[in-house]
Amino acid sequence: MIYASMSEWFGRVGYFGLTLLIVTVYGLLVGALIERIIAKVQGRVGIPYSQPFINIAKTFFKRTAVSHGIMFYLGPVFRIAGGIGTLAFIPVIYGSEMFSNFSMAGDLFLVIYFMFFGQLGMALGAGESGHPYSAIGIARGLSQMTAYEVPFALAVISIVIQYDTLSITEIVAAQQGGWQNWTVITNWVATLAAMLAFLGMTGYSPFDIFLAPQEIPIGPPTEFHSAYLSFLQINRALFGATKLVLFMNLFFGGATGWVELMIKTLLIYMVAIVVGVAFPRFRVDQGIRFFFKIPTLIGIMSIVYVQMVLA
């Protein structure tokens, strides 16, 4: 689909801005909600819902900053551009031209590869800070990434075979008509593999060693502060929510409205949270080995499943 006129482009950009705002705010609120839920479990009150916003404002309003160099300066820019861009390539609300963003530019494959954009840029920025812990954190994070990519890739291949398309919109379209059409029902094996990969992707315990706050003070962003940090905070919410939207689209039937989206993504998120609070942390090589065992096996089975059972 080609946009003939500039005004159409501007319209699209405007709607995307709206999407961006909603998703970011939603991401921040979900973050707070999760914090509060965890706090309740621990018998505490927990942070106010406004806390993530205040935190961002606070870091944004810091009056001093240091810079380690141009890549350090650009790192957070890359990072948030990665988040925004990923969202831009995902249709958020099914059936809504307004909120399908720029998904016509590419397909699922584009989204998966573009996720690396921000990570790579951030890694370079953190690298230039010269802090060894940044490098260690990135080395761990990247290694873990290669591991959870395997079950995820297998699951994606499985659903691509299943729906015979890479277009996210079409994948969502194929899941319409009731919950029995969702991938989680029709191809539960792939969903299982992908959800295990999702645990690694979110960076919650047990796969949070690359951010280990005690050992390598929060890893890659250890040197980032002030306005840089506010970018990273926004991105964390935005990118997290974007990943949830992607998973919702691929495995849980997408959403036809914002409310549906919020409920579904929250539930998906809860998977990672529940696992996170229940399990201690893996060492990074244990984490890698974990993904290469059961989740990969499930991923392989999902392709076999889709070929044998669904074909």
Partner: protein, 210 residues
């Protein structure tokens, strides 16, 4: 890089060897001004007050009193307070009790690496007047000679409630725009540095740890 290394806006860094001079920034810090628009500054102060990130650096035995604050009984997080493992991202430094000379050096380094506005709460008697270590050969007696303190909490040790009360008071101060310890430090940097160097004999770090 080397051309601008000795002007009046620079520090001498005499504690460093010639090789090391190039490895550390030698700029002299400058005080920051509040935002010119009062509403913005007020909002910023409100945000700062409601999002106090404490540097996770327990400098002495009173740091043990920080832990209960995280628990269900006190739950400090409801006031927007969180721990932060890196000084770059923290805004509050809680001096947890006695400060030995060796620790003081690290405290100074960490404090200078925090980004302003930043605040110090001195916990317990020792930072105030030496406390029970008043006659020790390696424990300082008056912490505010070396770094600007925004709030003292006395006691040996103070209860968590006392610390909590101090934090709440600090919040009020910040909101009122009264906490400018970081600027005071920068404005009187030479005096502070002289005091610091008097007790820290092997000053082998830059004069200002950016």
């Amino acid at each position: 890089m080397s051309k601008d290394r000795s002007s009046k806006n620079t520090m001498e860094n005499s504690g460093l060897s010639a090789d090391e001079q190039l490895l550390f920034c030698n700029a002299r810090p400058e005080p920051y001004k509040p935002y010119s628009i009062k509403a913005v500054e007020d909002f910023a102060n409100w945000a700062r007050a409601n999002s106090l990130w404490i540097l996770a650096f327990g400098t002495g035995c009173c740091s043990i009193e920080l832990r209960p604050l995280m628990t269900a009984r006190f739950d400090i997080s409801r006031f927007g307070i969180a721990g932060r493992p890196t000084p770059r991202q923290s805004s509050v430094f809680i001096i947890g009790g006695y400060v030995s000379v060796k620790t003081l050096k690290r405290i100074i380094r960490s404090y200078e690496q925090m980004q302003g506005p930043k605040f110090i709460i001195a916990l317990g008697s020792c930072p105030a007047n030496g406390g029970m270590y008043f006659d020790s050969y390696n424990t300082i007696n008056q912490f505010d000679l070396y770094l600007p303190v925004d709030m003292y909490v006395t006691g040996c040790m103070p209860r968590p409630e006392a610390l909590l009360a101090a934090i709440m008071e600090l919040k009020e101060d910040i909101k009122a725009g009264n906490c400018d310890g970081a600027n005071r430090y920068v404005e009187n940097l030479d005096w502070y540095k002289a005091n610091q160097k008097k007790v820290i004999k092997n000053w082998d770090m830059p004069d200002y740890n950016w």
